[in-house]
């Protein structure tokens, strides 16, 4: 009654357009494949040696990607949790605030990037104008072109865009916590912080796990935020793995590019395995 061909269509598309390219990548990452010649030679681990060598810039990109991932996980979780607690109860226009706070998540990153290019503009941009207006002239920066600030600005924009998404997931988690727990804690004389630490946080753990997994998978694959705000600059200061993949694509050196994706593929397949185990476990008990 439940024919296999029902599965086969989706599975077929998925295998052909997602799995096959990834597996082919495993092989091509060991070759000198490029867009200039038809000839493809086996070069062993040369591409990987290039990626992990100190003379090249790839390690810097990998490092940036990790910094980006860790900081956005922390910041989005902190802000998302704060927002979720704030809009959960006890404020006016709850629903309006929820709608507004989630709004940045639905706007295309490309557009968000253009908007923030204007906001960060050193001379007329909103941030520097505002700082001058309140007399904090010395705090004004070249947000996107100063090596010390460019990557921090990118992270800030990404948190601005993504915190609302995390808020929504955590909000649903908060609403699933039975009210009676808090009442019992009230009777025992627990303060707000105590209640948060002893009730909210432990019961929110499943939701926090999910948001962390989502942020992790997103962070490792980050591309558009960097591409549109700085395109890796100034110099190579804000390169991440995917912007480097993109440059390899444009340059036509597919071998190195594929090797870069393969590094990502192996890391994500491992992480994905645990994520999938986690998600399917929750779904089974639910």
């Amino acid at each position: 009654m439940y024919p296999f061909y029902f599965i086969a269509v989706a599975l077929g598309f998925y295998v052909v357009f997602a799995v096959v390219p990834s597996l082919m990548g495993l092989y091509y990452s060991l070759t000198d494949w490029s867009s200039f010649t038809r000839e493809i030679n086996f070069v062993g681990l040369d591409n990987f040696k290039t990626i992990f060598s100190k003379d090249e810039n790839y390690m810097h990109g990998i490092q940036n990607t990790l910094v980006f991932t860790v900081s956005t996980i922390v910041l989005k979780t902190v802000f998302g949790l704060l927002l979720a607690v704030l809009v959960n109860k006890g404020i006016k226009f709850k629903n309006l605030h929820r709608v507004i706070l989630f709004m940045p998540s639905i706007i295309p990153m490309l557009v968000v990037g253009i908007i923030f290019k204007s906001v960060f503009e050193p001379q007329y941009g909103l941030i520097n104008e505002a700082l001058r207006a309140v007399g904090l002239e010395q705090w004004t920066q070249h947000w996107l072109t100063d090596i010390r600030w460019a990557f921090k600005s990118i992270i800030a924009v990404d948190v601005w865009k993504g915190a609302g998404y995390i808020m929504v997931i955590l909000l649903a988690g908060l609403q699933a916590v039975p009210h009676s727990y808090y009442e019992a804690a009230d009777i025992d004389g627990a303060g707000a912080w105590m209640k948060f630490k002893q009730i909210t946080l432990p019961l929110l753990m499943p939701s926090l796990t999910v948001t962390t997994v989502l942020n992790l998978l997103y962070g490792l694959k980050v591309f558009d935020t960097v591409y549109v705000l700085t395109n890796g600059g100034p110099g190579y200061a804000t390169e991440v793995v995917y912007t480097q993949v993109f440059s390899q694509f444009t340059l036509g050196s597919y071998g190195v590019g594929t090797a870069l994706i393969t590094v990502l593929f192996i890391a994500m397949a491992a992480l994905g395995y645990f994520a999938v185990r986690l998600m399917s476990r929750e779904e089974q008990t639910g």
Binding site: M1, Y2, F4, I7, A10, L11, F13, Y14, V16, F17, A18, V20, P21, S22, M24, G25, Y28, L86, V87, G90, I91, H97, V99, I100, F102, M103, I106, I107, P108, L110, V111, I114, I115, F116, S118, V119, E121, Y124, L126, E129, G164, Y165, A172, G173, P206, V210, L217, T258, I261, L264, F265, M268, A269, L271, G272, V276, R277, M279, E283, G286
Partner: protein, 274 residues
């Protein structure tokens, strides 16, 4: 006690208000500057425009070729999301009802797709073999594939909640597998299907890498690429760029406001039980 409680409530309201303001300011900035004349918008600021320059929008539609790219985006996102629901729900249905070891494995195998990075290089070859490179159909197929894993995940959970007795009743009434699925089960999936549709629509509407890699002509570009290209050409005319941005995000904002109930339920159904 009452005093501190009221103080706390006031502080919370102020805090939320500030956060909402931070989310709104960049969007308001675009709305205000999209209505200014070129000299007024040379510095993007909150000074209100003297006269409302609505003709910015017609200029942008013409120069930015927004009509064409809007239709492209609509085709890519609409068709990809619709096909994605059809195929994902069929797969989710068979996978969830017939839990053999193989199906259990296939479900996890498809879920893994949520994490997998796309290999843009080898995908060129696959696109060439299937003769989908530089075609609109190719983008529809790729968009559909990117949305399948998450959609299967959400629909699988939802189908688990539909009683199996319905299938048995259908079989007794003489339904074959297709009739059973399309006349009995599929209509029941509506709430989850709407969520999946909206989420994949928004995701694909905002995506631009695949068209950037696999489409060679600007006439096939979706709106996000068109707006980015427009920004490259008219960097100095912030009023036009703002108007262009407004028209680009209008469809997603409308879909969001109409469907926000479904979006939020769908996003959380994947992560929180209940």
């Amino acid at each position: 006690m009452n005093m501190t409680k009221r103080l706390k409530s006031i502080l919370m309201n102020i805090a939320v208000g500030l956060f909402s303001l931070v989310c709104l300011i960049p969007i308001l900035l675009i709305v205000i500057n999209g209505l200014k004349t070129a000299p007024e918008a040379s510095s993007m600021s909150f000074h209100l425009p003297k006269t409302l320059a609505f003709d910015n929008f017609s200029v942008v539609v013409e120069k930015g070729k927004l009509g064409q790219s809007f239709l492209n985006s609509l085709l890519y996102s609409g068709l990809a999301s619709a096909l994605c629901i059809l195929f994902s729900s069929m797969a989710a249905y068979s996978l969830s009802r017939n839990k053999t070891r193989l199906n259990r494995f296939l479900f996890l195998f498809i879920l893994l797709g949520i994490a997998l990075p796309i290999n843009y290089f080898t995908l060129i070859d696959v696109m060439k073999w299937t003769e989908l490179i530089n075609t609109r159909a190719g983008i529809v197929v790729l968009y559909m594939v990117t949305q399948i894993p998450f959609s299967v995940f959400i629909l699988y959970g939802f189908i688990g909640g539909i009683p199996k007795e319905l299938d048995e009743a259908g079989v007794i009434d003489g339904c074959g597998p297709q009739r059973l699925y399309f006349s009995v089960i599929f209509p029941m999936l509506q709430p989850a299907a709407v969520t999946v549709f909206i989420l994949s629509f928004l995701n694909t509407w905002n995506e631009f890498l695949l068209p950037l890699y696999y489409l060679n002509s600007a006439s096939k570009w979706p709106m996000t690429l068109a707006v980015y290209n427009f920004f490259g050409q008219f960097q100095q005319s912030w009023n036009l760029v703002s108007a262009d941005i407004l028209l680009t995000i209008l469809p997603v904002v409308v879909v969001y406001l109409l469907g926000q109930r479904f979006i939020i339920s769908g996003m959380t159904s994947g992560s929180v039980k209940g």
